[in-house]
């Protein structure tokens, strides 16, 4: 997330949010009320505390035990693993360079060290990627997020307050193709995040450094608090230092001292694996099913099979790759390749896996469903486009959804939409089914798709 120019007014944002939230179901299935009415036939009403207590003890003693257990587990989850076990770093008692008002906090486990005011105590941040220290004259939270290759999630918080839960996980991804000069490289601006006042918050943004990394410092006063964010990336991981101080006690010197004391603790030299571009196209070879093609490296990490629901065995000739990134299909494979048998049988996996027999392309076209039926009759919905191409040297067909209008039907990324390519090779049906939204939202570049299709070849 970055700050910078504002592209829409408050009113425009309001209109978009209203329109977006207007979308979606407005009709509740009758079964909800019917089921509830059936259920309350055996549910007593709670008339007062003693009655409720008696009812609970007499009718469901195990539920109480389960509830207590769930509470204990919940507390464990909320507090996080650090209080349950594992190494707990402590302030380094060695002399500090500030004349005794600071302690040097060091945690190799978390991968950094910095000076913390001696009067500040560490408190539970509530987040696995963040540590927090608090004192009467301010507090600091350090969030060191995940690699951009693992989603780049990092916790960022807003001013504290009663019942406030203003922390969110911001995700930071990478370009496809990967851009090593810009992806996961600082500074990382929090200016947009700080823009949380009615009207506009005056944010002072400046450039700084964090242990040599180019960082952004964003500062704003909200209410009686001065907020300071210093944010950047290190080793493609977002890192955010967030100070909150009472305005009347805030001063730049202390923050500067803490910031300049910050050091990343990287793994010892030699233990790092050489960087491998996850988006690079590499050759995937499936000798068993007799084909190969170029594939983004990170898709191969998600290679898998789907089970036949009847036998619980992997479907022969079928491989899935990666997860789709479009919503609705984000849990679905980005690509499914199905290689059939010489008798013309092949498996199509969409909502479920189903076996078909096809002797020609027309029959294959009847087996695949490019747009789920419920989305085909909607005004401004997707329509199907078909055409011919060559795949692996064979005459092939493609089917894909297209939107005739940018003001498209509100299906929130309709699931079960595919870019299908199919052919027949040696009597064996061959089907490539790309998750449409992976392509449409450029989780891979259009050029990659072309390269992948052009590279497809049969090994026999």
């Amino acid at each position: 997330m970055t700050g910078g120019e504002r592209l829409m007014t408050e009113s425009q944002l309001d209109q978009i949010l209203v329109a977006w939230l207007e979308e979606g179901a407005t009709i509740a299935p009758d079964r909800i009320a019917d089921n509830a009415v059936s259920e309350i036939a055996t549910v007593p009403q709670e008339r007062d505390w003693p009655d409720a207590l008696r009812a609970s003890f007499s009718s469901a003693p195990l539920a109480w035990a389960a509830g207590i257990l769930a509470l204990a587990v919940g507390i464990g989850i909320l507090i996080g693993p650090r209080l349950i076990g594992g190494p707990t770093p402590s302030p380094d008692p060695s002399p500090s360079p500030d004349g005794g008002t600071m302690n040097l906090f060091t945690s190799e486990e978390d991968g950094y060290q910095l000076l913390i005011p001696i009067t500040w105590a560490e408190v539970d941040s509530g987040f696995a990627d963040a540590r927090k220290w608090s004192g009467q004259d301010g507090e600091l939270m350090v969030s060191y997020g995940a690699s951009i290759f693992d989603g780049g999630a990092v916790t960022v918080c807003a001013p504290p307050g009663p019942s406030l839960n203003t922390c969110v996980q911001l995700e930071h991804g990478f370009s496809v193709p990967f851009d090593p000069q810009n992806d996961g490289v600082g500074p990382l601006s929090m200016e947009g995040w700080l823009d949380r006042c009615e009207g506009a918050c005056p944010v002072t943004a400046s450039n700084t450094t964090l242990d040599g990394e180019s960082a952004s410092q964003d500062r704003a006063v909200i209410g009686d608090l001065q907020l300071t964010y210093v944010s950047t990336y290190h080793n493609r991981r977002p890192v955010i230092l967030y100070w909150s101080e009472p305005v009347d006690l805030a001063g730049p010197e202390r923050i500067d001292l803490m910031r300049s004391s910050f050091r990343f603790i990287d793994p010892p030299p030699g233990s790092e694996e050489p960087f491998v571009d996850p988006t690079e196209l590499v050759t995937y070879t499936n000798a068993e099913d007799g084909y190969e093609l170029l594939m983004p490296r990170f898709w191969l990490e998600g290679e898998g099979t789907r089970q036949d629901p009847r036998t619980n065995e992997p479907v022969v000739g079928l491989r899935t790759f990666a997860s789709g990134r479009g919503f609705g299909t984000r849990d679905q494979p980005a690509l499914t390749i199905s290689i059939g048998q010489p008798d013309g049988s092949f498996t199509v996996c969409q909502r479920a896996c189903q076996e078909f027999v096809a002797a020609d392309l027309q029959a294959m076209g009847q087996a695949v469903i490019t747009i789920a039926e419920e989305f085909t009759s909607i005004p401004n919905g997707p329509i199907e486009e078909q055409g011919d191409l060559v795949l692996g040297g064979e005459v092939a067909r493609f089917e894909r959804p297209v939107y005739p209008s940018r003001q498209a039907f509100n299906c929130l990324g309709c699931p079960w939409m595919y870019y299908h390519l199919y052919t027949i090779h040696g009597g064996r049906p061959v089907l490539l089914a790309f998750d449409f939204w992976t392509i449409e939202f450029e989780a891979i570049s259009t050029d990659y798709l072309t390269q992948m299709l052009e590279s497809f070849r049969f090994l026999d």
Binding site: T2, E22, G24, A33, N165, F327, P401, V402
Partner: protein, 181 residues
């Protein structure tokens, strides 16, 4: 919901509750679906809410406040539902729609950006935005429903709006638009 029905149900009249359930279900379900962004979990949350309403109705001191009270139970149920495991393997991100809403004012790309950003908000922030923009409630009413200070409502709304704005603007900056293939 008619006060008479509420009072009858408070005294254990299951017939009255049945009428309440059929009136409230269409009101509660769309709100749950928008907070949870999941059709089936919204169904579960709405049904749980109705049962909870039945169970706790005798504790409702003022039948006139039934609607706000019911929404509060719904939102709390959605919080609990949201904290459960993220999703079942076969769950969808589909909002089933009415065909009458075909002329959307929101582009596909905006919708994707909103959906992703909304997914990252806390359930508490989502609830505030849904109550504000879908039910068109003011901050005082939302504070009343949620049982939190109005400042909390404002903060949640502001943080939520900011995250959604950032998502939309980020998409606009990189030029991700709803292409026609």
């Amino acid at each position: 919901v008619e006060r008479r029905l509420v009072e009858l149900a408070q005294h254990g009249d299951r017939g009255a509750f049945s009428e309440i359930a059929h009136v409230m279900s269409p009101r509660l379900f769309p709100v749950a679906q928008r907070i949870l962004r999941d059709y089936h979990r919204a169904e579960d949350a709405t049904q749980q809410t109705l049962v909870q309403i039945w169970r706790e109705l005798p504790k409702l001191s003022d039948a006139e406040k039934f609607d706000a009270w019911a929404y509060r139970i719904l939102v709390n149920t959605c919080y609990a539902e949201a904290r459960k495991s993220r999703r079942r393997p076969d769950d969808l991100r589909l909002l089933e729609t009415d065909s009458s809403t075909g002329d959307s004012a929101v582009s596909v790309a905006d919708r994707d950006a909103l959906e992703r950003a909304f997914d990252r908000l806390s359930a508490e922030q989502r609830a505030v935005l849904v109550l504000q923009y879908y039910l068109d409630l003011g901050h005082p009413q939302i504070a009343d429903i949620l049982g939190v200070p109005m400042g909390t409502v404002k903060s949640r709304a502001s943080a939520g709006r900011q995250a959604l704005r950032a998502a939309l603007e980020a998409d606009a900056r990189v030029g991700v638009v709803g292409r026609t293939a």
